[in-house]
Structure formats: structure tokens, C-alpha cells
């Protein structure tokens, strides 16, 4: 009983803090005269519509990862989020990064995660396999972080410059890896080697000596 009351009062204090924080942020955001940046209001072309669709897919996938009760649905949501983020890279003239995202994240990391899900869950009880706790605390965290980040992003006058035309970047990145970023490149390969050995050492069955 005492712990329940303590928990309730702690949650109450946390909620109060978040509300006060959000109110303070709102005053901070509204007080300074909102200076819209360049905000070129051209007609919405096909590119813009495509961007909004892909961004919606990305956000919906991320929301699915965070909110789904079923770990397999979470994996599908992660697939949508990664695909959406990879396609957003194309808008930013990052073709090589987009393809790398496709190959490594979706071809590697997601398959690895699905393997781990299959190996560690009783699939027949899949409904209880992704329970979350503290959904109230999670909601508090979300509504206290997201508005702050979005306010910072939209209110800061970023040093905008006219973006370069879309052009292939693979040759530039390859040259950079072998000249300017040669040391990080080699360190990354060492890290991958260490990861390979370390993952095998951690995941193998322990063989008792006695």
C-alpha cells in the first residue's frame, strides 16, 4: 500500500514536471518573434508529395516498432522505417548511402534480428512476447522529448545554402576512403574483425571444464 502510494506520488511529480517543462518550452517558443526561414512556398510538385509519403512510411514504421505488442510486427515496422529512411537518402543525393542502408540494414541487421526473435521466443505465445512496461512513463518521455526536438529544429536559423544538384557520389566516397579517411577506414575493418570474433565467443555454448 505504501509503495503504491509512493509510486503514484512519484508518477504525479513526474507528470507535473513534464507539464511545467512543456509549458515553459511553449512560452520560450512563442515569445520570440517567429522568423520563418526561406520557406519557399512553391507549388507542391511530385517530389514533395513523394517525400511526404516516404516520410509518413518512415514515421509509421518507427511508431509501429515503439507501440506494437507483437515482436514480429515490431520487426516489420523496423523494416518500413529502415526502407523509408533509405529512400529519404535518395532525396539528399546520397545514392551510395541509400544502397548501403538497403544492403546492410535490411539484408543484414534485420535478418539477424529476425533470427534472434525466432531463436529466443516461443512463437506460439507471440502475443505476450513483446510486452512493454511503463507505457505511461513512455508516453511522458515521448511527449517531453519530441516537441522540444521539433521546436529546436524548426526555430533554429540553419545556415542554409543552395543545395548542390543531385549527382552520383560513389566515386567521391571511394576516393575519400582511400585518401582522406584511410585511417578510420582501416580502424573500421579492425572493429569488424573484433566484432566477428567477439560475437562468436559470446554466443557459443559454455563448455564446463569439470
Amino acid at each position: 500500500m505504501k509503495t503504491t502510494a509512493g509510486k503514484l506520488s512519484a508518477w504525479f511529480v513526474a507528470t507535473l514536471l513534464v507539464v511545467v517543462f512543456l509549458g515553459y518550452m511553449t512560452t520560450q517558443v512563442i515569445q520570440p518573434a517567429y522568423v520563418p526561414g526561406v520557406a519557399s512556398t512553391g507549388p507542391a510538385g511530385l517530389t514533395d508529395v513523394l517525400f511526404y509519403v516516404l516520410a509518413a512510411v518512415t514515421i509509421a514504421g518507427a511508431a509501429g516498432v515503439a507501440l506494437s505488442r507483437n515482436i514480429l510486427y515490431s520487426a516489420v515496422g523496423l523494416l518500413m522505417a529502415l526502407l523509408g529512411a533509405g529512400s529519404l537518402y535518395v532525396f539528399l543525393s546520397a545514392d551510395f548511402v541509400a544502397v548501403t542502408q538497403l544492403l546492410i540494414y535490411i539484408g543484414g541487421v534485420l535478418v539477424l534480428i529476425l533470427f534472434a526473435v525466432m531463436l529466443t521466443n516461443r512463437i506460439t505465445e507471440v502475443n505476450v512476447s513483446n510486452t512493454s512496461f511503463g507505457s505511461f512513463g513512455g508516453a511522458l518521455l515521448g511527449i517531453s522529448v519530441a516537441p522540444v526536438l521539433i521546436a529546436v529544429v524548426t526555430l533554429t536559423p540553419w545556415p542554409a545554402r543552395a543545395p548542390a544538384a543531385l549527382a552520383p557520389t560513389t566515386a567521391l566516397i571511394g576516393n575519400g576512403f582511400l585518401t582522406k579517411w584511410l585511417l578510420p577506414f582501416e580502424v573500421a575493418s579492425l572493429v569488424l574483425l573484433a566484432t566477428l570474433v567477439g560475437a562468436v565467443v559470446i554466443a557459443r555454448k559454455e563448455i564446463k571444464a569439470d
Partner: protein, 104 residues
């Protein structure tokens, strides 16, 4: 009103990805779910890197950084899932609340 896409749009997408990843990490009991949240956070950071590279700095330095982030995310996923498998062998569950021993 729909405005032409700019740096801010991509940054908002990155911020939302980060927020959902943070909520996932904070609320999951399933260790694999926690790893999915970490992947979301890394992707939000990557979207920001590539967006700033295109709209602010130019060149390819931001893209190269994003590539390193992808490489480290893959390494992190491999080691993290190996740890999850080891936890499953030891505790017969991957609920993060029950993994509270350094060794048997």
C-alpha cells in the same frame, strides 16, 4: 499549407525517429526490442548527418560519417544479439528485468 521540402523537413523526420527509438528503448521488456530501438536512434542520427551534408556543408563528409555509423550499427547488432543469445541460454528468457546476475 504544403511547402517545398527543405532541411527542416528531414530534421523533423530524424527527430521523430529518435523519439520513437528512445521510447522503445525505455519501455521494452524484450531485449531484442531494445536493440530495435537502438537501431531507430542510429537511423535518426544518420538522417540528420546526410541532410546536413546535403543542405549545409556540401561534399561527402557527412555521407562518409553516416557510412561509419552504419558499419558500427551492424557491429553493435551482431554483438548485442550474441549477448541476447547468451542471456537466453543462461536465464531461459530475454526479459531484461530478469537478467540481473553477472554470472551464475
Amino acid at each position: 499549407m504544403i511547402t517545398s521540402i527543405s532541411l527542416t523537413h528531414f530534421l523533423v523526420v530524424g527527430a521523430l525517429l529518435f523519439t520513437f527509438g528512445l521510447v522503445t528503448v525505455a519501455t521494452r521488456r524484450n531485449a531484442v526490442g531494445v536493440l530495435m530501438g537502438v537501431e531507430l536512434i542510429l537511423n535518426g542520427a544518420n538522417v540528420n548527418f546526410v541532410a546536413f551534408n546535403h543542405y549545409v556543408t556540401g561534399g561527402v563528409s557527412g555521407q562518409v560519417f553516416a557510412l561509419f555509423v552504419i558499419v558500427l550499427a551492424a557491429a553493435e547488432a551482431a554483438v548485442g544479439l550474441a549477448i541476447v543469445l547468451a542471456i537466453f541460454q543462461t536465464f531461459k528468457t530475454i526479459d531484461v528485468r530478469f537478467a540481473d546476475l553477472m554470472r551464475e
